[in-house]
């Protein structure tokens, strides 16, 4: 009888609706192969962006001729929009519009081709360039980018805001763990706040979200499933050997320190984290460090970590030296070959990756600068 009911139910299953998704899933391997002379590394595909890095010698005119081929959600269509924007002097943006199989949904992808750029040796990260993750009203939270001397926009900074978005608690950009604040040391600064993620966060075993900002990529698809793997720290953008990390910060820890189960840990006080790591990569197959090993990997060559940050409620400057790790010595040839990645990380709760911290802990960071060996 149960089988009968089950089969009746199953027979009620109606014909599958056409797909409603319209994603760019991948760049066609054939296209990558035929353009490998120009391309550097693998493209990075996110929900509304596809980023290609191209070799230094490629001309902007060449880039404008490109028309990459994509693999899409089954049944989806793609149309290249008739607009090309220049990204400073070092890149271009193309736009593609995809439409789902059922015709009901569509979105625009910004496809960028950018010449691989390293950090300018004089660059100061002031966090003045930020915007909403998407144009209003869809956009909910802030994202930051750098602009180099040639006016080229570089999406180097990432945060966990895209993950917090799934808690439903972010109504304005200031509600998110990582936000911009106008009361910076100079202009705007980064404000990192450890937030309560509410019942949805708790349900997913992630009761708090520490504010974080880092050089790297945040993979929001991993945010719930494998949060430590969502924060991909580091980019191959080191121009030289880093000597010190300087900047300004102020910090107020939250009242109640809680553990992964959101249980109060009596007597424990939250503390912030500011650090930078330079580590080895294989440029042909970049595997970044993530939340599980960013300070413990045996690939780390140099590390600069703010020890005992305290709780300064006024802007306080710091200068922390990069010290060798794992007995490794900085190798200029490796740098030349692109075998180093560097990250700078700040977080309002040091144990944030493991969901340990105090809701309300607030760290302001501004004017970060890596001082490089000018050899």
């Amino acid at each position: 009888m149960l089988l009968t009911i089950l089969s009746v139910l199953t027979s009620c299953i109606r014909e599958e609706a056409p797909n409603a998704e319209c994603d760019i899933i991948a760049v066609k391997a054939t296209w990558l192969e035929s353009n490998k002379e120009i391309l550097s590394g693998s493209p990075i595909i996110s929900n509304n962006d596809v980023m290609f890095y191209v070799k230094e010698e490629t001309s902007i005119e060449t880039l404008k001729q490109l028309d990459p081929e994509f693999e899409l959600t089954y049944g989806a269509l793609i149309v290249k929009e008739n607009r090309i924007e220049e990204n400073g002097t070092r890149g271009i943006y193309l736009y593609y519009r995809t439409t789902s199989e059922d015709g009901a949904w569509s979105k625009t992808y910004r496809v960028s081709f950018t010449k691989q750029t390293v950090i300018d040796v004089n660059a100061v990260f002031g966090f003045e360039n930020f915007e909403l993750n998407q144009p209003a009203p869809k956009g909910k939270y802030n994202v930051w980018h750098e602009v180099d001397a040639n006016g080229t926009r570089l999406n180097w900074w990432a945060s966990g805001n895209a993950g917090f978005n799934f808690t439903g608690k972010g109504k304005t950009p200031a509600d998110f763990p990582t936000s911009s604040d106008s009361a910076g040391f100079k202009g705007c600064c980064i404000k990192l706040t450890t937030r309560d993620t509410g019942s949805f966060g708790k349900m997913a075993g992630m009761p708090i979200a520490a504010g974080n900002i880092f050089l790297g990529e945040f993979i929001s698809a991993n945010a719930m499933k494998e949060p430590l793997a969502a924060t991909r720290f580091g980019l191959a953008i080191a121009p030289s050997k880093p000597l010190t990390l300087t900047g300004h910060y102020r910090y107020t820890p939250g009242e109640t320190f809680t553990d992964k189960a959101k249980e109060e840990v009596a007597g424990r006080r939250d503390t912030c984290a500011i650090y930078s790591v330079l580590y080895e990569i294989d440029p042909g197959n970049i595997v970044t460090l993530d939340g599980s090993n960013v300070l413990s990997s045996d690939r780390i060559v140099l590390v600069a970590e703010l020890k005992n940050p305290g709780e300064p409620d006024e802007w306080t400057s710091f200068e922390i030296p990069y010290v060798p790790a794992n007995g490794k010595v900085f190798d200029w040839q490796k740098l030349e070959k692109g075998e180093y990645a560097i990250t700078v990380v700040a977080s309002s709760s040091k144990g944030g990756a493991f969901f340990e911290g105090a809701v309300g802990s607030t760290l302001y960071v501004d004017e970060l600068k890596i001082n490089w060996d000018n050899k």
Binding site: M1, I13, C22, G168, A221, E226
Partner: protein, 259 residues
Amino acid sequence: MKKIIIAVLASIIALCAPAKTNKINDRDKNLINAALLGWQIRLSAGYNIGGTAPLPLPREIRGIESYNPGLNLAIEGTVEKMFGKGDWGLRWGIRLESKGMTTKADTKNYHMEAWNTDGSGQVVGAFTGKVKTSVKNTYVTLPVLAVYRINERWNVSAGAYASYLLDGEFTGEAYDGYIRDQNPTGEKAEVTRAMYDFSNDLLKFNWGLQAGGEFRAYKHLAVFANLQWSINGIFNSDFGSVTFPLYPIYGTLGFTYLF
């Protein structure tokens, strides 16, 4: 299977019946008098099996992986009054019953909206993956039925019922899939396991149609089967978390003791 159930029920009643008839000796007279005027008092017990399901199944549901009817019992006391020659009559009463089930389904772009427990945040999205739903509702039900007696052995009935929810549980989990923020074009996040509980959103009132047949196997014992088809859903129609109405549709198999 049906035969087995009937046999089990019949043997249960066979065990209980003698005890009862001995006890009610002093009331037999009243019952006989009532019977002569076309009244009958009945006590039924049954097993509800069915589903709290959308109709038709929405296209977002791509497959049903498993179905467990659970143990849903119904106990009912009814009064029947036959009119004229005794072919037609009316049956009404009160029933305490549970209607529940557990299903696991595969979904694709299943629209969901959910508020967090303190109401400080709402998640709206499209979920693709597996959904486990568990319903366990206990109702007190008032059925009103027209009865037609085909012959000494058989009668059929049809009418309506109104139910009041005494205790409701609607819980579930979404797992092995991904949610996309707002709609199918939104940012994607893989979901290992997310639980939900909409028990507090269940409507107190449910009503629908009921029809069935009864076979009088012995003088005091009849077996029956009927179907309850709900007209209203178990949630308000504007409830965003379940975007299609869910109708309790249950069949009942049981026996009736006829006084």
